[in-house]
Structures are given as C-alpha cells and as structure tokens.
C-alpha cells in the first residue's frame, strides 16, 4: 500500500470534474454553490440541492468534500449563508473553506468544521495561532516562500498549536494553477473597470489582457518586453514538490474550479503520482519531465514556480488564453448505450474524426477518458472516418448519456 503523507485537493466545478478528480486519485475535492463563492461568474455553478449528491459521491469514493464560501459577505447574505452551512453539515460535508468572519462565526456556532481560505492572507504564525481557535486547516498566502512555510509548520509543532479537533493545525498551500496579480486574490481591477467585484466571484479577468504603458506627460509609450504586464504565468510546483512536501505541508491544493474534467484529471493525476513518488523515494528527473509534458497539454498560461523559492517579481504570460500544447475540439455527444455489449453510441454534431485520432470523452459517470481511436464503426459499419450527422459506436465500460461530450484532441504545437 502506498504511504500517503500529503492530501491532494482537487477543484470541482461540475459533476464531470468531480468524477475526474475521484478517478485521478484526489484525497479531497472543493466546490462552490450558489453565489457565495469566488467562481460565481463561472458557467457551471452548483446549487444547494447538489450538495447531497456531491457528498454521496465523495463518501462512496472515500474522499473528503469541502464547501467553499469565501466571498465578501453582506448582511443580505446571512440567511443564505446559514442555510448553506446547515445543509453542508446535514449532508456530512467535511469542512467549509472561508475567510469572512461571518462564515467563521456561523461555522463555530453550527459546529461545522472550518478551513481558513487563502483569501484571509495568512502569512505568519501569530495569524495561524489566532485562526486555530476556529479551524483545523489553514491555507497560507501564495506569496510566501517555502522557507517561511516550513518555519510556520515547525512553529505549529513547537508551540503545539491545535485546532478545534484537538489535532495539530494542518497547513495547505496552492501547488498548481492560475495566480492572481493581486496579493491573495484581493483584486479590484474588475470592480474599477467593469463594476464587477472579483471578491464576489465576478472577476472579468482584465489582468489577462495586453496593455500598453504610456508616459502621460510626454505621450511616449514605454518599451516593455511583454504586453501582458498584469497576467502572471500559472503556478506549477511539480518539479519542486519534494521541497514543498519537506516543508511540512499537509494539503496540496490545485486551483481551477471553472476548468474542465480533462484539466482536473490530468493535474490531479500528475500531483498524485508526484506526491506518491516523493513518499516512495522515486521522485526522479525523468518522471518530472513526463509530468511536466502532461501538464503542458492542458490549460495553462505558461508555468513558473510562484514565490516559493524566493522570487521577488513575478513571471508574466506572453499570450492571452492558454499556451497548452493540446486543445480539445467538440465533436458530439452521447446518444445511446448498449449495456450488454458495453458499447456507447455518440452522434457527431461538428467536424469529423478518423482512425488514429485521440478522442476525449467527459461526463458525470466517466469523468474523463482519453484514448486513441483504433477501430471505428459508423452507423453500424466499420469505417475509416466519420462526419457530422454520423452515429459512431465505441466500446465503453460505463453508461453513455447525452451528458457525455466527445472531443478530438489536436496538437497545437504543429499548427
């Protein structure tokens, strides 16, 4: 049996991603519901009625589920907030992740386990000690160095700082995903430009655009190396994960609730394997290169290691959107399933596929499945290609429904 020293915490914004996280070996997932989470603008937001289903799926898979309630809270949110925490407790959600004192207070009153969100910007042991009265897990600020993280962990042990459970407080840090230009996500750029508060989950990603820098007096434009002067590259710590774990971190958090099941599966699996490799003493340069290649295939803005190794300035993206080496093109959706033969039928709604293509299927039952197309049956007969309107059949172990989406993977490096 593998010796697991750290938990991998995966982001979930849909039931497809939830299953992908489970399949890829996550120890826990986090999700938001309704409007009180930092991803409320995202297309896929769970509702309060989904909490039960999410909890049941996680319990069945033997992993933990955390509900994120980490926006700025107003007075008019109080009743919804209470009802969400009550529902989370009723459905055995393992903890709430929060930064606002109203949420912290309600969790304490309702005896709901609590984790302190990175939005609280915890950067020192005194703050950890303060919040330990309320929370067993604390997510540190992303701007700390690993040396500072290690010192905080050492001080937790030295001072015997325990949470409400009586156990030593556990430290969680972000290890992968998008970074914000503002400290601990406290950004007002969207609010000032479009009246959309990032702190209510409505970030309009203004930082991801290209900008010119102009001297207002002379009208001269400054020469800057890169127009994306406010868009940080994505955090990636896979090549320093041994150092991250040695710092004493207990939970490795992956960012990306709005991202697809393919992203969640790939990133979770890479960090699961890397964390296990560190535990087994087989964390090699060869494996790191292989994980890095896999991570580059899914959404990213280019990678850097964040501030963990003491970098004083950030690294900035060089393009808008993703720099992923692969992209997925929507082809169609599931239409029928033949359970005895374990064959799934998909209807092609856009584009075409051919033998040799790599297909990606995402869905609430399968999570993410990626495989090379070796044989193809179109409208019941063997074929080499399939086009819009065709019905193709594939051997598939799980029930196929219209919620299953079929994509073709295209290499973007040869475009």
């Amino acid at each position: 049996m593998k010796k697991r020293t750290v938990d991998i915490l995966a982001p979930v914004g849909s039931f497809d991603s939830l299953q992908a996280a489970i399949n890829a070996g996550a120890d826990a997932i986090y999700f938001g519901v309704e409007q009180l989470n930092m991803r409320s603008r995202s297309a896929n937001v769970f509702s309060v009625t989904d909490i039960k289903k999410i909890s049941q799926a996680c319990k069945a898979a033997g992993i933990k589920a955390y509900l994120t309630l980490n926006t700025v809270m107003y007075d008019h949110d109080r009743q919804l907030l209470r009802s969400l925490i009550k529902e989370a407790k009723k459905q055995n959600i393992d903890a709430v992740i929060a930064a606002d004192f109203a949420v912290i207070g309600y969790c304490r009153e309702l005896e709901m386990p609590l984790h302190i969100s990175t939005q609280a910007n915890i950067t020192n042991i005194e703050s950890v000690q303060f919040f330990a009265a309320f929370a067993d897990v604390i997510v540190l600020a992303r701007e700390l160095t690993l040396k500072q993280v290690a010192q905080i962990v050492a001080d937790i042990k030295r001072k015997n700082i325990t949470g409400p459970s009586g156990e030593l407080v556990r430290i969680e840090i972000f290890v992968h995903g998008a970074l914000c230009m503002a400290v601990s996500g406290k950004c007002y750029l969207s609010l000032h430009q479009q009246n959309a508060s990032a702190n209510r989950g409505a970030c309009t990603q203004n930082c991801r655009r290209s900008y010119l820098v102009k001297d207002a007096d002379s009208g001269d434009e400054l020469l800057v190396e890169n127009e994306y002067i406010m868009s940080p590259k994505d955090l990636c710590t896979i090549d320093i994960l041994d150092e991250v774990i040695q710092a004493g971190v207990s939970v490795l958090k992956i960012e990306g609730r709005p991202k697809g099941a393919d992203y969640v599966h790939t990133v979770t699996q890479c960090y699961r394997e890397a964390a296990d490799a560190v535990a087994e003493g087989s964390f090699t340069a060869e494996k790191i290169a292989s994980w890095k290649t896999a991570l580059e295939k899914v959404y990213n803005r280019g990678f850097w290691q964040g501030y963990y190794l003491g970098r004083q300035t950030g690294e900035w993206a060089t393009q808008s959107g993703s720099a992923a080496t692969e992209k997925k093109i929507y082809i169609g959706k599931g239409s029928r399933y033949y359970p005895q033969k374990k064959v799934g039928e998909f209807t092609i709604e856009s584009g075409s596929i051919q033998i040799g293509d790599t297909l990606l299927i995402t869905g609430p039952l399968c999570g993410m499945v990626k495989e090379k197309l070796e044989t193809l049956y179109v409208n019941g007969a063997q074929a080499l290609t399939a086009d819009k309107g065709d019905r193709i059949t594939l051997l598939f172990p799980l029930k196929v429904t219209p919620a299953d989406k079929l994509y073709k993977i295209v290499d973007t490096t040869h475009a």
Partner: protein, 73 residues
Amino acid sequence: MPKIIHYRNKCIGCGVCYEQQPSLWRMSRKDGKAILLRGISKKGIFQLTVPGEVMEQSAAVAKACPVNIIKIV
C-alpha cells in the same frame, strides 16, 4: 412603455441595483439575490413595465450589473 427584465437565477447578490435604484430593487434576505419590486415572473425571469422618467436610472443600473442580467427593452 419600456420594460426592465431581470434574469434572477444568475444574480450574484452584489447589491449594486439596490444601491443605485432602491425604489425598484431590494435584496432578498432569503436567498441573497436581488428582487425587482412588483416584477412579474415568467419562468424565473422577472419583468416590470416602468414609466419613461425612471428609465435613465434603470439604464444605469443595467449597465452597472456586473453579470449583465438586467436588460432594458
């Protein structure tokens, strides 16, 4: 007369509509989302016909909504 349309399901409860035009908006204490006062619901989409004189303010509210769920038609 012009109409305000409120796609309430997608409201994130920021409260900017209520702050700017309290005569037409309230924040629900039940679910934290905005309520278009006297609005008539059709499948969760609320509509209210309003006199022309308040339209300038309503247009500003529609523009201010961070998730663009308030429309004037």
